[in-house]
């Protein structure tokens, strides 16, 4: 009897295709019959951040070579669409009367070739009555000039409207021996999937729209696309080709995608659209962008007793998902891993004349973690205690039954001190502190910094279960249909492992189907680190149910009692207990069931709640105190995601997460000038992290299974980002803390570090 495949480093089934012929991304669908004769859509975009449109002249553009049609919002008779998160905010999918950020689509151009469309977009003349650009969050919050007049304010969401109290201010800390305050800007970053957005749309003779979408959640796009086309949802078919990364920014369908069906209908041809990277940097949603006012109080023994956070969330120019991440992700996690008896947290979401904010890897939890972790460091520095020790004093002790924090969030299981101990030991924390002491004593130009973070986060908070269908083909191979939507995570391999474990069918004979709403009508997609614990869990459960179904069939064919049928997983065949020579293979059973609908089982498997992975990171950096340049020397990541299905995939997720966290801590920031012009709107200007700026990443394994699903699994997609960002930021500050520096906002660029040192002197 072979051992379980679960927990093994199984290489990816996906890889040979990607390595030899390349993925089939939306822009690669050259041979798709339904897209034969497709024409190209290009959007002309706003060049001003805030203004009333006074005129749009498309006559020159229409006269250019290869131009089939040019549409304004009025031409398409676009109506106001309310925000799902604050219905008082409404917009048209092409701006008709007002523009609210640079990059907002205003005119759609249809051309024979993509290049012709780009040329024509330059010839569209849009005149504006320019309004003051509200770029700064606090300026916008206080302004009488409102982006959405019907909202009556630029504040579009506030925890106080949920009935939660306002923070009480300094009085809250009256009994504290030590009080430390901070103002942290968790800066705006660009998600930057390597594949930008792209889509294609084609109307069938049957009046049905087929739309290909580079998305994380095909099923979620059916309703908005149906609404944009004014048709029933049954007339919309979404297909997901390979997707070149999403990181949260490809969860929802964007205006440019929602308009393709209406445009295809108008021109009577299928259409393709793919943005350029420069467009993507302005019009794919951004992430983070949260200003934090933090106060922490406690005593000189290191005990933290009070914590107060006011998170002011930049929504950008539309009330998109970013608006609700602060109240529903940051606030619940404001306590972090700590047992703090008194916490106040208010969040306020504000619209500005900038690119809308959406989910980005971590989506609200990195912000919560950064706030409390920075506060812990400043508290530790103030009482001159080792930051790891201050954390240890305040950690919630190990719990294997649910624990509820004072902000009301219940965590499933946690063993934070062990993760901290493992990270400190693996990194030789004490050794680095000793080296740091020597470097400081020598007065060397290059100083060492050591950053520690301990975090907990929410995964699987989106959705309360997932669909799965497993179907056996005549040849005994299996097809899995999943409601998750892989775009790099390796579900084809991971889900095959889970089905193989139950059925004995080798993983090379198991294929995965996803992201096609005809084949998989029910699904919540891939986001919020939910896939394994909900989608994988469903595949595991449904596969087990299919085995039971198969036993019934085998019993009939073998003329035996169902209770006597056993599955020999090594042979992937069924037999009667005690007579292994007479078998029925999966193929036999599938053929036997062919006339009655096939050997297939499908179900939606619920889960009982979100899980709360945790861990500890240690970052080691070197800072050149003359130039401010930071070198990230080592990174140690102990991330506990519960029971591990495939360590190879787990490590890959951690590596990628750490890189994105490091990128935010050290390099990346979306910047606007005072007029709202983006000055980081392509990959030459935006400091996308490269291999040269990262160290190898040491992964330290720890597994505390959750009782909340069959697999004992928690999410791992975002942990690396959440743990690494504050560890790296703190390491940079730690390297210059002996010079009097207490805080440097991210990204800790050479300029910022140098300025902080200069200011401290």
């Amino acid at each position: 009897m072979g051992g379980s495949i679960l927990g093994n480093r199984v290489l990816r089934k996906e890889d040979p295709k990607f390595l030899t012929e390349g993925g089939k991304y939306v822009d690669d669908l050259l041979d798709e019959p339904m897209l034969a004769g497709a024409v190209h859509v290009t959007y002309a975009r706003s060049t001003v951040a805030h203004g009333n449109i006074t005129s749009i002249d498309t006559s020159d553009a229409k006269a250019m070579p290869g131009i089939i049609a040019v549409f304004t919002g009025a031409d398409l008779d676009l109506q106001q669409v309310p925000s799902a998160f604050n219905p008082a905010a409404t917009r048209t999918l092409l701006a008709t009367d007002k523009v609210r950020y640079v990059g907002e689509p205003v005119v759609a151009i249809v051309s024979q070739t993509r290049e012709q469309g780009e040329d024509a977009s330059e010839a569209v003349i849009i005149n504006y009555d320019v309004l003051p650009a509200l770029i700064d969050l606090e300026v916008s919050m206080a302004s009488d000039l409102h982006l959405y007049a019907a909202c009556g304010s630029n504040v579009v969401f506030d925890t106080m409207v949920l009935g939660l109290p306002d923070n009480t201010g300094d009085a809250y800390f009256a009994d504290c021996e030590v009080v430390v305050k901070g103002r942290y800007m968790n800066q705006r970053v660009a998600p930057c999937p390597l594949e930008v957005r792209g889509a294609a749309a084609s109307w069938g003779a049957n009046g049905r729209l087929t739309q290909w979408l580079s998305t994380q959640h095909a099923q979620g796009s059916v309703a908005p696309i149906a609404a944009a086309n004014g048709v029933e949802e049954s007339l919309v078919h979404i297909k997901t080709p390979d997707v070149g990364g999403g990181f949260g920014a490809k969860i929802g369908a964007y205006p440019e995608e929602l308009l393709l069906g209406p445009i295809a209908k108008r021109v009577g041809k299928p259409v393709r659209w793919r943005e350029t990277r420069s467009e993507s940097m302005m019009a794919l949603g951004h992430g983070r962008a949260q200003l934090q006012y933090v106060t922490i109080g406690g005593d000189r023994s290191g005990k933290v007793t009070h914590y107060q956070l006011w998170a002011i969330q930049d929504s950008g120019a539309w009330v998109d998902m970013g608006t609700i991440l602060a109240p529903f992700m940051t606030r619940p996690m404001s306590s972090g891993v700590y047992n703090i008896p008194n916490i106040e947290c208010r969040t306020t979401s504000v619209v500005t004349n900038t690119t809308p904010i959406v989910a980005y890897r971590g989506a609200g939890r990195p912000e919560a973690t950064a706030a409390i972790e920075r506060a812990m460091d400043m508290f530790a520095a103030h009482i001159e205690m080792d930051p790891a020790e201050v954390r240890r004093i305040n950690l919630i002790p190990k719990f294997l039954e649910p624990h509820t924090t004072v902000v009301g969030q219940t965590y499933d299981v946690g063993d934070y001190e062990t993760s901290l101990n493992k990270a400190l030991a693996a990194s030789d924390y004490a050794g680095w502190r000793a080296k740091q002491k020597v470097a400081r004593a020598s007065g060397a130009v290059k100083q060492l910094g050591i950053g520690v973070s301990v975090y907990v986060e929410i995964t699987g908070g989106v959705g309360n279960g997932e669909s799965a269908k497993v179907e056996i083909q005549d040849n005994g191979h299996a097809l899995i249909y999943t409601g998750t939507s892989p775009h790099g995570q390796g579900h084809a391999t991971a889900w095959a492992m889970l089905a193989s474990e139950q059925t004995g069918i080798p993983i090379e004979n198991i294929e995965l189907v996803w992201g096609d709403t005809d084949l998989v009508p029910v699904g919540t997609g891939t986001m919020g680190s939910r896939s394994l614990q909900q989608g994988g869990n469903a595949v595991f459960a449904v596969s087990a149910e299919l085995v039971n179904k198969a036993k019934t069939v085998a019993a009939r064919l073998l003329e035996a009692s169902e209770a006597d049928i056993v599955l020999d997983k090594d042979a992937a065949a069924f037999h009667v207990a005690g007579t292994p020579s007479l078998t029925k293979t999966w193929s036999d059973l599938a053929k036997a069931e062919k006339s009655t609908g096939g050997l297939v089982h499908s179900d939606v498997i619920g889960v009982t709640g979100a899980t709360f992975p945790f861990g500890a990171h240690v970052a080691i950096v070197e800072v050149d105190t003359e130039t401010g340049k930071v070198t990230h020397l080592r990174h140690f990541a102990c991330d506990d995601a519960g029971r591990v299905l495939n360590p190879l995939l787990l490590e890959g997720q951690i590596h990628g997460g750490v890189a994105q966290g490091t990128a935010q801590a050290l390099l990346e920031e979306v910047i606007y000038d005072a007029d709202g012009n983006p000055t980081s709107s392509n990959l030459a200007e935006y400091a996308f992290i490269s291999a040269a700026e990262l160290p190898n990443i040491d992964v330290i394994h720890m597994e505390t299974p959750t009782p909340l699903n069959l697999l004992g699994a928690k999410g791992i997609g975002e942990s690396g980002t959440i743990g690494s960002t504050p560890a790296v930021q703190s390491a940079v500050i730690d390297a210059v803390s002996h010079l009097g520096v207490r805080h440097i906002d991210m990204p800790t660029t050479p300029q910022r570090v140098w300025q902080a040192i200069a200011a401290a002197n």
Binding site: L11, R12, E14, D15, P16, F18, L19, T20, E21, G22, G23, K24, Y25, D27, D28, L30, D31, E115, C192, P193, L194, E195, V196, D242, V243, G244, G245, F247, T276, R277, S278, H487, G488, Q489, G490, L648, L649, E651, G652, I654, H655, G656, G657, V658, A659, Q660, N682, L683, A684, F688, S690, A691, A692, L694, N696, I697, G720
Partner: protein, 152 residues
């Protein structure tokens, strides 16, 4: 303009606009879509191919400039269904996730080892600086290249 380019050992010819980039010729005229476009500033390297044996970002070369040359894309690496050692190393070391940067990354990595058969980890990192990946954190890409160089 009429051009002739040998691509993956096959003679190809096309009639292209003068502004057509090599990457567009390879993708749209020849239908070889493994080579991807990830930016518009020659920053990301997703379009890296070999031109007369040297790695180039095919978005920085006009198709007409490549007239008379020999181009290799990732589709041309495997022989008789057997992957190139670099492709195999990426597979064995989980050097890819979403796969979008992968063709360009593999071509750049092969070129890197051609120039330096025995690189250090840091040399690999600096050598691949012009090829961006958002998924892997580069850790396993670097491991893949070192493995291919026999250093792992």
């Amino acid at each position: 303009m009429k051009i002739k380019i040998t691509v993956n050992g096959t003679d190809t010819q096309g009639d292209v606009e003068p502004r057509t980039l090599l990457v567009n010729y390879v993708r749209e005229h020849l239908g070889l879509t493994a080579t991807n476009i990830g930016c518009d500033t020659s920053s990301c390297g997703a379009c890296t191919v070999h031109l007369n044996g040297e790695s180039v970002k095919s978005c920085t070369i006009l198709a007409v400039q490549a007239d008379g040359t020999s181009v290799t894309t990732v589709e041309g690496l495997a022989t008789n269904g057997v992957m190139h050692p670099m492709q195999e190393a990426f597979m064995q070391n989980h050097g890819l996730q979403c796969g979008y940067c992968t063709p360009g990354m593999v071509m750049a990595a092969i070129s890197l080892l051609k120039e330096n058969a025995n690189p250090t980890e840091q040399e690999v990192r600096v050598g691949l600086e012009g090829n961006l990946c958002r998924c892997t954190g580069y850790h396993n890409i670097v491991q893949s290249v070192l493995a291919c160089a026999g250093k792992k």
